[in-house]
Symmetry: C2
Subunit: 474 residues, 2 copies
């Protein structure tokens, strides 16, 4: 279990005064203070930890948000920024003595410019809403986290979210042009814009992935791309994980960049097939789903090249979609993977480490050994093309020992990723979940330098406290 700070009694005692001061700044209708309504904000999608916040503020404008944040900073009240609350690492977990400032009511699309290919939106716009706003004209916003129907662009920026298609299109950082951020002092900063690069430090890069530690983002300008004419998937089964991993390495080495390259192990194949009846081969030890896009002609050429590469590795099954419907059928099992695991295990932890892609076979073997040592099943489903693993550790939350073993197994898997030359997190962020593992990745001197950056933006350390940085004795 992760250590959580005790709430500060002097802040709890001032609750009524704080709520009324916030209401003055954002309007009473934008402050939530009733215990029952506050309970809706006690956790995010990392449900292992829960804390009901002091109050929730949902400003409608950047000015309101700035006023609320300035007030909290002046009063020394901690602030937990929140978008849709779909974080898988507890990035939006509240504290009892903290005010949640949410961007959900700032959900307008402000500007779409097809000629210069950007969209400027408020922070609470959902990921999918951006694509919806431009798809009629044949454009789309590329990063596509699994939660894209619900998750909001400010959360995507905070966590530098990825998705199944980021092998080709990059993660959030690669698709941002600018943003508006409110600092703890209530200053409104414009960062980047609808143009190439920018003078000065790369704020955009620094703020993207900073997990709400440096300020609160209220507007985002994203790049929109012309959608491909079409896409088609293929499904390839292999008799052994090593063989599938070797095929992945060959595909990447060939220079072909599929739009998606997903990997499922035997446990995951069986769970998904039982759930979705997608026709997955139950005799395979590993399954690849590979998607390409372009004109009909381009798809045909690329699928042919991929099939030839896979053939060299003696696949046990190979199915190439001929139509959009057949592609959808191939994806059906993969898209329901988390739901499928949820059906066979009361609870699961979803890990998010990355490794250099060539170390895949080694990683799979080591995860299997760890899984046996901790007596917990692990199903593997992940973005193989860029080495982003998502081991799903199955456990029972009602059994304290099972939960403790799941946390320990998860920590060991992430340590393994770092040992193999990878990283603690690919797209879910550090949040609370991986906070105390940061010392595995970083030396004291690295973390100290990161703390100096944090202090340069947030001298009082009021923003999203007790996350990202391992707790120090102080």
């Amino acid at each position: 279990m992760l250590a959580m700070p005790a709430p500060r009694a002097e802040i709890l005692a001032r609750r009524a005064e704080v709520i009324s001061a916030l209401a003055e700044r954002v309007g009473p209708g934008n402050v939530i203070a009733e215990p029952l309504r506050l309970k809706a904000y006690e956790t995010d999608a990392f449900t292992a930890y829960r804390r009901v916040p002091l109050a929730v503020v949902l400003p409608e404008t950047t000015a309101q948000l700035a006023a609320a944040l300035r007030y909290c900073n002046e009063q020394g009240i901690r602030v937990v920024p929140r978008a849709a609350g779909t974080s898988l690492s507890g990035g939006a977990l509240p504290l009892e003595d903290a005010v949640v400032i949410g961007v959900a009511r700032m959900n307008r699309i402000l500007e779409v410019d097809l000629a210069d290919r950007f969209a400027r939106v408020q922070a609470g716009v959902t990921n999918i809403a951006i694509t919806r706003a431009v798809e009629g004209e044949g454009f789309f916003y590329a990063p596509d986290p699994s939660s894209q129907l619900a998750c909001m662009i400010a959360g995507n920026v905070a966590m530098n979210s990825g998705g199944a298609h980021c092998l080709k299109y990059g993660v959030t950082a690669n698709n941002l042009l600018g943003l508006t951020m409110v600092t703890v002092e209530g200053e409104v900063m414009e960062v980047g814009g609808a143009h190439l690069d920018c003078a000065g430090y790369d704020w955009l890069g620094l703020i993207t992935g900073s997990e709400g530690q440096l300020g609160i983002v209220t507007e985002v300008t994203v790049r929109i791309l012309r959608a491909a004419e079409g896409a088609r998937a293929m499904l390839v089964g292999f008799g052994a994980t090593d063989v599938a991993a070797a095929a992945v390495a060959d595909i990447i080495a060939s220079g072909i960049i599929p739009v998606a390259l997903e990997f499922m192990d035997r446990a995951c194949i069986h769970a998904c097939e039982a759930f979705a009846q997608a026709g997955y081969p139950l005799d395979a030890d590993a399954l690849l789903i590979i998607e390409v896009e372009g004109s009909e002609q381009e798809q045909e050429v690329l699928l042919g090249k991929l099939a030839a590469i896979c053939e060299r590795h003696a696949p046990t099954t190979m199915r190439i979609a001929k139509t959009a419907e057949e592609s959808a059928a191939i994806w059906k099992g993969r898209k329901g993977a988390f739901g499928a695991i949820g059906r066979i295990s009361p609870d699961y932890l979803c890990m998010d480490g990355t490794i250099p892609p060539a170390r895949l076979p080694e990683a799979m073997r080591a995860i299997k050994t760890l899984s046996e040592r901790y007596r917990l099943e692990v199903a593997n489903v992940f973005h193989a093309g860029d080495g982003n693993l998502h081991p799903l550790i199955m456990f029972d939350a009602n059994d304290a020992d099972s939960f403790a073993r799941a946390e320990a197994l998860g920590a060991d898997i992430l340590k393994l990723c770092v040992e193999l030359g990878g990283c603690l997190t690919g797209e879910h962020g550090v949040g609370v979940e991986k906070r105390d593992l940061m010392t595995v990745q970083f030396r004291a001197v690295d973390l100290d330098q990161q703390r100096r950056i944090k202090s340069a933006f947030d001298p009082g350390w009021i923003l999203n406290p007790h996350k990202v940085f391992p707790l120090v004795s102080a």
Copy 2:
């Protein structure tokens, strides 16, 4: 003329002691102290300003470099980091009381991993050397600044360099995986690595483009890409700049991403043709060079689509290369553009603003008006696909009034870029050149926040002083 600080007499007085202390740390053979040899370091490619440094240190290892930097920081001696000295914005301009720490002797390729597609190199390796090390296997390093034969990867990182092909492949920031940086305290930090993303703040993004203000980079891990099967260029002339700009907008809107999309105006066409005899059309007011790559079949399809788009804008000339030799002939004039301008004007300033691509016609008209107002010829050659302008202002450096007008015209062009929604610099950096224009782009609150970041890394402000940040009264 830009204000330059007076050297600090107390540092100059300690010169002998400083040189001997540095020699102890990096070995006497790696310290340059003789006035004649120091003169080679008095400027970079932005030759309008020159200062002979106190001493030059050329360490051979990260440990030597760390020892030298730690000593300077402890003694309050300013340090100017230097790679190849090809900066066009004065990023490596010394000061008389500063020590230049150069990475030119750290020029080994440390590791090439084709399976995971990365190369780890020392900071003083030239840009072209990375491609040379992997091209035998069919790979390349994508960013290709014009100076790529000479410029070093540490300078590319410092300036976030681009190149003609960054329309498709992105700038330096998009092609880095990790780096080793020495802090002013002499600590060696590892940032990122050969894997996707990373936990913690995005150091890599922050350091890339920070112009040697935060530390000195000693090793860099870059992504290498599989080279396309081939590439072919086409050359299209238009009767008016607006028409060419409209064709550029149509190409971008079509979703085709050429590997290069270069624009030359009438002044530049004539200068290049006189210099290189590339067969450029002298009746055209604007010329586009468009390059595509892929298999023979893909090239054919893309060139056909591009020709159809250009045809809609009534080109005065259209020439599509059928072979690699014909492509080289088309590029010949463009690649010699800076040399060609140098032949017709004693001196020129190369500007580097960016604009949203759709504002191109407006920008071209306004630059023409400004050119007439300041009575100086401007030739335009630039990366049109991503809106990165390179107006070349022709002047006579022996005529103080001509130089003053050139600087003022340059400043007005960059202000224009910002007004149009663009930025002061696309790929050359701020350096000394655009230091005092930073207030055009940024408000005081933005610059203050940038200064806080600088202070978090370099509390004594010893690194690359009097650059990037506008001088304050203090």
